[in-house]
Symmetry: C2
Subunit: 486 residues, 2 copies
């Protein structure tokens, strides 16, 4: 992973950065940098100046201070699984990779918290405490490789966020390195209404633009006594959407309430973990309830009743943990599975009030027809968090542009019904322009003023999250050109 050629460079900055982390903890040769040109938003890429791997907070602070003092753009990177381009080095940044800061520092079961370094992988936390009956709730589909530091930056969600909330609801405290290299503690572990302004909230989901997280105190939860998981197949997606609304209206808060449409089902059944979903249904719901044993049967019965009333074709309940795990593995292949039915795909991430599901799904169908591109839908229906997957072939001239436009149209449809342009993937470079769908200039300015406070020289992760008039026009153009050129 690290540069094999030793430190043979005349670049003073590289030498000085290497002096901080050691010569083996820096990459700067072009061939070593290629895999850092992009992240999960592969439509765009840019070459970084170097990648450095600090081993602790102090080294991170020194690297940041060096960059800040020498006017070098820089950004932090976790596993690089982000879907909106937040870790792409638009300005030839020095990438501070946090993957070597990956320790579980402390577990306090009594007070339900754990302290991890930012490079610690999401799923490892649950794996390390599950034998004691605990788990970490936010579960993005990439949880087996994404880092908790990256989750904090993007305020990551997941299938079980309907009941348990997104990352911000599980972060109790942070240690950060500010863009000028100061180490600060943010938040007060688990205080319901901590004194002062909610910096913890501002930092979480700030997409790496306000500071670099070096330590994270997270909330851990007791495993529910029981879980039940059901699948419901619908001949009409409108019935399925209505069932989603009805379930929540009945006062049930399922742990997860996921929907896949026909195209999505076709994809996951062609991918690594098929489970035999009928391919001729219009949509399916994957529903999980959890809690103490006594109430679970009743809840699942109530849910199945609702589905019956909405003309469900058939329902089934997982017979054991193994069957449940298979259904989830199938669901979690979702985005990647698109590769089995399309050369390229673009995943979007809009949010709408639950009651607008039928309307917006219809609208997305229309966008698909107009653009001539297939759009699959696989999403957190309970949250109203849509993930239209726009299928395209980048080899066909103009089709990448068409896909980007269709994606943007989907987000506009969400914004038009009082929704928003991201539910969990962030804005990054992908949706900067779409910020105008939901914010006025004044509202954007209020936010960039806050960035100014933390990041006054704008060296940390510049060009992300906000449209910047003039500059962003160019970047958008550049992005489209790059995409079209692939």
């Amino acid at each position: 992973m690290l540069g094999k050629k030793g430190l043979k460079t005349k670049d003073e900055d590289i030498k000085n950065l290497a002096a901080i982390v050691g010569p083996k903890e820096i990459l700067y040769h072009k061939e070593d940098l290629i895999s850092y040109e992009s992240d999960g938003f592969t439509i765009h890429s840019h070459m970084p100046k170097a990648v450095v791997f600090p081993k602790d907070t102090e080294e991170t602070a020194k690297l940041v201070k060096y960059c800040s003092d020498h006017n070098l753009p820089f950004l932090a990177r976790g596993a690089g699984t982000g879907l909106s381009g937040g870790a792409i080095p638009l300005n030839g940044e020095v990438i501070i990779s946090l993957v070597k800061m990956k320790r579980l520092l402390h577990v306090d079961l009594e007070n339900r918290r754990a302290v991890v370094e930012p490079g610690y992988v999401n799923l490892k936390l649950t794996n390390s405490i599950s034998d004691k009956g605990y788990y970490y709730a936010p579960d993005p589909s990439s949880q087996s490789c994404c880092t908790i530091g990256g989750n904090v930056a993007e305020n990551a969600g997941g299938a079980h966020c309907l009941k348990y909330g997104v990352t911000t609801n599980h972060i109790l405290g942070l240690e950060i390195v500010s863009p000028s290299g100061d180490i600060m503690e943010i938040g007060h572990d688990g205080i319901p209404d901590a004194p002062g302004y909610d910096l913890l909230g501002i930092l979480t989901g700030s997409e790496g633009t306000l500071g670099i997280v070096t330590k994270i105190t997270v909330r851990i939860l007791k495993n529910p006594e029981e879980k039940q998981t059901a699948l419901a197949y619908f001949d009409d997606i409108a019935d399925g959407s209505q069932a989603v609304s009805d379930i929540v209206s009945a006062g049930i808060v399922p742990a997860a309430l996921e929907m896949m449409d026909k195209t999505a089902i076709e994809a996951v059944e062609s991918a690594a973990f098929p489970v035999g979903h009928p391919k001729d249904v219009d949509a399916l719901l994957l529903i999980e309830v959890d809690g103490i044993s006594a109430g679970i049967e009743e809840q699942i019965d109530q849910i199945l009743d609702v589905c019956e009333k909405r003309n469900v074709r058939s329902v089934k309940v997982a017979q054991d943990a193994e069957e449940r795990a298979k259904w989830w593995a199938n669901r979690k292949t979702g985005f990647g599975a698109m590769g089995t039915i399309s050369p390229d795909y673009l995943v979007q991430d809009g949010v709408i009030p639950r009651s607008k599901l039928p309307e917006v799904l219809h609208e997305i169908h229309e966008i698909s027809k107009e653009s001539g591109l297939r759009i699959a839908n696989i999403f957190h229906a309970g949250d109203g968090n849509l993930h239209p997957l726009i299928l395209f072939d980048s080899k066909i001239p103009g089709e990448t542009d068409k896909a980007l436009e269709a994606g943007s149209a989907c987000l506009e449809a969400c914004a038009n019904v009082g929704g928003s342009i991201t539910g969990e993937h962030g804005v990054g470079i992908e949706k900067r322009e779409e910020m105008h769908f939901v914010f006025s200039e004044k509202e954007i300015e209020a936010q960039t003023n806050i960035r100014e406070v933390f990041n006054p020289h704008y060296l940390l992760n510049a060009g992300k999250l906000f449209p910047s008039p003039g500059r962003c026009g160019e970047v958008k153009k550049e992005l489209k050109t790059a995409a079209a050129a692939e």
Copy 2:
């Protein structure tokens, strides 16, 4: 309530402010202003310049713009029930009272949200939707008179926040007037991970220092199918504290888990709603569980089992809604009830990790002995949110100072075990100096820099929330002098 003498003044500012709201919607005679000198933190008071009552957002914006353009300090006030002095006009502010902006603007049951004006009283919301089976969760003890605007400013909590979270967990969107008079929308109704920085989080709990809230979109919840409420009496408060930890460790999240110690029981049994608690017990727990019917009995049985193991003297379960309501009325008289056993009292508001309850309660007992002042404890035990009530007599020279010192010592004890200085009452003017217990200078500076962004001329609610070196030293002195002089 309004000035009876018509507008007879030579003060140009008063005339101009009156021109915005109309001559009947301004108070400026000294005798009309007396009840606005203080709020629920009665130890301190200061005369405002005037009190104005806008009827809508536009008038509020005009008032703010006038103050901003004419360099007049100003602040917003709801019902004035705040316990940390956040609405006290330290600098002779123009008080913008929001009590006439008290409409319920919109209820959307399907998407579980309601839109209210800031002067709308907390309990009215639940009352207006309860017949349809819904309620608004945050329930501060003052809920029958406090306003939702004030709740947002203070990020108010309540007895049921253990399971349902404090105000910030229930706010989906805000309309605010910025300190320069601009109207802005903040947040995106119910989006799990809204794009951009979490301004909604920063505004909520900012204690009226960043803007004036003029419209609030709140989350409403479906009534739980069933509730069960139990009382458990302990001969040793340490056993009761341990039971709190054990209940939560068992994986149960009660809707409420409240504790009262012997002195608190003495007070509530002497107040308006006695329910016959034995006065010789050392502590009681008031425990409520809610949810779907099927699981409730089992949960309450599990809780009673835990109490048995911790040497409970006796337990009882409320036989019906009426008995439950009586127990809660008794609990909610808590703070006020202190008046029946002491001429004056000071309520503190510290937070600690649950596991530290026995240790910190012991410490508070020591503080009581050292100061020679009785301290009652009535608090949200499940959250680790302590409310030591320091009983004193302001007529005895020096006793007010002693009470303030004992209060500060209680907060220091909380901070020392990794806790914090406020769980729901805010910092206001009361706990400015105690911010040093939990924040470094740099961390405080990061926060005041944010205030600077929103409130650059520092005309809105100045002197609150943060210690300001030099100035605050003086204010603290002034406060103690004022208190001692009472």
